[in-house]
């Protein structure tokens, strides 16, 4: 856990994001109808979801660790990682809606991808509501850890699996070409993959700051 207090990976995240901001606008991209320059949104919209997956995964890992050990700190990590994940969830939804307005015609066209993302969002809101409804600390930690372990795979199925089994406007679904196959080339990959790493680190950084604040609050309450 020493690593959360170190600086090098935070600097790395910032440097890589600067690179994607400049390269993302200047490097060439495929010329596609409808999308035009909005294809560059890929560099900023998709990393929000990757960052969300990263912190939600950390959240589940620490929920499992909590159930194994009963260490209160692990529960605090799980909550704050989930909180940060929800923040990036909202960013992903909003950037997706803006892009959808200009690519699909409507902010919200009840597309399977959009709808199931909205349901998954409610799933994680329920996690926070569940936590706040239980006063007793250990009971709260235990029940919400179990809920989290069930919510995570359901979220993955809702966002990654179900929309791909039906027709969807979103790339990678139904009969649509995925960015990975037809629409994207190596010029985009040199920006997109670093962006995934950098925004994931960014989300982890924010989650660690939230955890450290919560840890101080927790210790303060324990003394009194």
């Amino acid at each position: 856990m020493r690593f959360i207090y170190q600086t090098w990976w935070k600097v790395l995240a910032v440097v890589i994001i600067f690179y994607t901001l400049v390269a993302g606008f200047l490097l060439g991209v495929p010329r596609l109808p409808i999308l035009h320059e909005t294809i560059r949104n890929t560099y900023f919209h998709v990393p929000m979801w990757i960052a969300m997956f990263t912190v939600f995964t950390i959240s589940v890992i620490y929920s499992i660790k909590y159930l194994q050990t009963g260490k209160e700190e692990y529960d605090l990590i799980a909550v704050e990682a989930a909180n940060t994940g929800i923040f990036f969830f909202v960013l992903g939804l909003i950037t997706g809606m803006l892009w959808a307005k200009y690519a699909w015609g409507e902010y919200w066209s009840n597309d399977p991808k959009q709808n199931s993302a909205a349901i998954a969002f409610l799933l994680y809101c329920a996690y926070l509501v569940l936590r706040n409804s239980i006063d007793e600390e250990q009971k709260r930690a235990k029940i919400s850890a179990i809920y989290n372990i069930f919510a995570f795979p359901v979220m993955v199925v809702l966002i990654m699996v179900l929309p791909r089994m039906t027709d969807s406007l979103h790339p990678g679904n139904g009969g649509n070409p995925a960015f990975g196959k037809l629409d994207m080339d190596n010029r985009m990959r040199v920006v997109l993959y670093p962006a995934f790493i950098a925004w994931s680190l960014m989300a982890v950084w924010i989650a660690t700051i939230r955890y450290r604040i919560r840890l101080i609050e927790y210790k303060k309450n324990a003394i009194n």
Partner: protein, 55 residues
């Protein structure tokens, strides 16, 4: 006549920021925004470190 002769020759100016539909200005803006955010996050991190050391 003199003015016309001047216009005929391209004049060297610092036009990089105005080229390609002024996209460099947009890059400048988002880089400034992100610089601010990064500095803000680092300063929060530093303040937290101080509080943690007090304990």
């Amino acid at each position: 006549m003199a003015v016309k002769a001047q216009n005929a020759q391209p004049v060297e100016m610092a036009d990089k920021m105005r080229s390609e539909g002024k996209i460099y200005v947009v890059i400048g803006t988002i880089v400034i925004v992100f610089t601010g955010l990064a500095i803000y996050l680092f300063s929060i991190d530093r303040r937290l470190k101080k509080i943690e050391k007090e304990k």
